[in-house]
């Protein structure tokens, strides 16, 4: 597509999603021997494990009459049987037996999608399978590292995936959306730095010598019982294409050297987010909160997961309302603010990926 299309779609309201990329299809524990269905990038996918525990992802529509394979059962070591007329497919999506005939129609296959199990997630590649390089799975190593502990959940967000990315790339919204937990006015007052490198974007914000908001005060007291006083607070947002954002967040006792690199007098968390387009107007939003202190405390793991779940519920509500307003006002445009720099770089990167796939369409 042309450069003109690229610029005019910079604030595309419904951004298409690149297909030549890894997206999270599910948490590792969700996929079992019993097939499940999940729509990913507009396509229903049947997911199950083979007898050996390997992940299988097939188009959830039988070659014959498109009945959903996920309603069928796993058979043999790695196969799945269509619930309707009994065609059996192997883990590569190849028909291995057909009802009432001695041969197999050579075209009887369903698409099988490459998968990788990594960082407690099942990643799936919906585009050209010859490009599915496992080294391209976005970095979420905190999910499985010994130095971090935590857990997370999935939000079904009723909005285009890019709206979630926008939300996470600019945390000034915390002051307004999350005023009771992590919001504070210093957020919109403090300066931030945006850096783009290749398919990554980083937005860094430091707030010096401030009062810790309730969420962070609790965390400080978990590590430093009875803590009182001012803190230095940081938010370092790391985006990696197509849709993974890990946010390095924390506070440390004010003036103890955290901005210079000594975080020993503070608490540090990583908000891990990875967003999978479900349809053009809905997303699977997988998140977790990982921390590097009190690693053994299941209590803190659960408290943090539930606390963050509450915070993200506020985002979910806003995102859904935003998508509804976008759809209700098709003739209105998006305008951009200075705080959108991070999100705008994300769009730029996604648009160049879409252009490379020949799928970038000018904003309607």
């Amino acid at each position: 597509m042309t450069a003109v299309a690229a610029t005019s779609s910079t604030t595309n309201k419904i951004l298409p999603h690149p297909l030549n990329a890894w997206y999270v299809a599910a948490w590792d524990h969700e996929v079992t021997r019993k097939p499940m269905s999940r729509r990913i990038a507009n396509r229903p996918v049947a997911l199950y494990r083979t007898e050996d525990g390997k992940i299988v992802a097939l188009a959830d529509a039988c070659w014959h009459r498109l009945a959903p394979l996920s309603m069928g059962k796993t058979v043999g070591k790695d196969g799945i049987q269509c619930p309707y007329h009994g065609i059996v497919y192997n883990s590569a999506g190849r028909c291995v037996s057909m009802p009432a005939q001695e041969t197999i129609n050579p075209s009887a296959t369903v698409p099988s999608f490459p998968t990788v199990e990594r960082y407690r997630y099942v990643w799936i590649w919906m585009g050209d399978p010859t490009l599915a390089d496992p080294d391209l799975v976005p970095d979420m190593h905190q999910m499985t590292s010994d130095e971090w502990a935590g857990d997370g959940l999935t939000i079904h967000a009723a909005c285009n995936y890019q709206l979630v990315l926008d939300n996470l790339m600019d945390l000034t919204h915390e002051e307004f959306v999350h005023s009771s937990t992590i919001g504070q006015e210093e957020l919109s007052e403090s300066d931030f730095v945006t850096v783009r490198e290749g398919n990554k974007v980083t937005v860094t914000r430091w707030m010096h010598n401030i009062d810790a908001p309730p969420f962070w005060l609790k965390n400080m007291r978990d590590k430093f019982p009875g803590f009182e006083g001012k803190v230095d607070r940081w938010q370092i947002i790391n985006f990696e294409a197509p849709s993974t954002i890990s946010i390095d967040v924390g506070v440390a006792k004010a003036g103890t050297g955290a901005p210079e690199g000594d975080r020993s007098q503070g608490v540090n968390g990583f908000v891990m987010n990875t967003i999978t387009p479900e349809t053009d107007r809905s997303s699977h939003y997988f998140w977790a909160f990982m921390r590097n202190y009190c690693l053994d405390s299941q209590l803190i793991t659960t408290q943090l997961r539930d606390g963050v779940h509450g915070v993200f519920g506020e985002d979910e509500e806003m995102l859904q309302a935003q998508q509804a307003a976008i759809d209700a006002n098709p003739d209105y445009e998006f305008y951009n603010l200075n705080i959108d720099a991070g999100g705008m770089w994300v769009r730029r990167i996604l648009e160049s990926m879409l252009a490379a796939e020949g799928r970038l369409v000018a904003s309607a």
């Binding site: 001695e102 129609n105 399978p129 020949g358």
Partner: protein, 334 residues
């Protein structure tokens, strides 16, 4: 990826046509709705035969990443009804109606080992697969067989690209392929993809079954026009419809029955689905089964045939010497 049979028609301009082997033309097309062609895909296009439009299929030998250039290669078919002759007569600048790439022969990424087998013009369906496997640094062997070097397209290019991985067998050089030996090299982790004359593919299928290899790991595409014997004229009788129809050399039994007004059931018209099956009541001569729907056992029984591709011949030995008049077959359609 899997089969795509949704036909999206578009126009395309011929931007190059060059001979690449005896009787084989390489034709470069520029489609109006470009879409990258996956390995194993083909396009359908409309040819003109005696002023009448007809549909033919051609595998995509290569395509540019953005799909704006599609390369096909067409062999001038012996006993052609005219499709391949029309294709050979194309001139640069001429426009054609073509579909976007269709897919019945997808390559699966991730097998431990691959054997690609191309017989003659079948190289068109295999060449792109080989190129992709090379790019993926997969473990593959490309076996290319033909009657004579002069009739084998792209030999030089393939040798350059695939080096040691290319094995060439040429009948008139006495280096014909030994099928059991080739299949003997396959193991449980091997996928074999082939496209070529039905005799070659039948031999591979037989070896594959004998060695008890997994059926789904043998992948093939039929061009739907080759048999064990040369096509002959034969007679079909359909008592139920009170019909007697002559099937000329250049027409299929299905077409001849349709021409005579019989309402026939069919889908693929290339011997894969079994929907055009008819029951054989009586036969003088033998059946040249050209389908891949029946097992060998069923083909030997010859109580039924798929009339889109299979034909009757006078002699099961293929030699015309002992032939007496045309074969006659009496059938009951489904």
């Amino acid at each position: 990826m899997a089969a795509t049979n949704i036909e999206t028609w578009q126009s395309a301009t011929v931007i190059e046509t060059t001979p690449v082997a005896d009787g084989i033309a390489r034709i470069v097309l520029e489609p109006s709705l470009p879409l990258k062609a996956e390995p194993g895909s083909h396009i359908d296009l409309m040819v003109e035969i005696d002023g009448e439009p007809a549909k033919r299929s051609y595998s995509v030998v290569e395509s540019s990443d953005d799909g704006t250039r599609l390369v096909i290669s067409v062999m001038r078919a012996p006993l052609s009804r005219g499709g391949s002759i029309f294709m050979h007569g194309l001139a640069v600048g001429q426009r054609l109606e073509i579909t976007q790439p269709l897919q019945n022969f997808p390559l699966r990424v991730g097998a431990q080992r691959y054997i690609l087998l191309a017989g003659g013009i079948g190289i068109t369906a295999i060449a792109n697969m080989a190129a992709v496997l090379k790019r993926l640094k997969a473990d593959y062997t490309l076996v290319y067989v033909g009657r004579s070097r002069g009739a084998m397209a792209y030999l030089g290019e393939l040798a350059e690209l695939h080096g040691e991985r290319l094995q060439v067998h040429v009948d008139d050089e006495g280096s014909s392929l030994k099928v059991p030996e080739l299949v003997g090299r396959a193991d449980a982790g091997t996928e074999l993809y082939m496209c070529g004359p039905i005799r070659l593919m039948d031999a591979v299928r037989r070896s594959w079954v004998e060695r008890e290899l997994d059926a789904p790991n043998l992948r093939y595409e039929t061009f739907g026009n080759s048999g064990w014997y040369d096509p002959e004229e034969f007679i079909v009788r359909v008592p139920k419809l009170d019909l007697e129809v002559k099937v000329p050399q250049g027409r299929s039994m299905l077409e001849a029955l349709e021409d005579a007004g019989a309402e026939m059931m069919f889908d693929c018209r290339k011997g894969e689905c079994g929907l055009c099956e008819v029951r054989i009541l009586e036969l003088t001569g033998a059946i040249d089964h050209r389908d891949v729907f029946y097992s060998e056992r069923q083909q030997r029984l010859s109580t039924k045939m798929n009339c889109c591709v299979s034909r009757a011949v006078t002699s099961a030995t293929g030699s015309r010497a002992d032939a007496v008049g045309p074969a006659v077959i009496t059938i009951e359609p489904n």
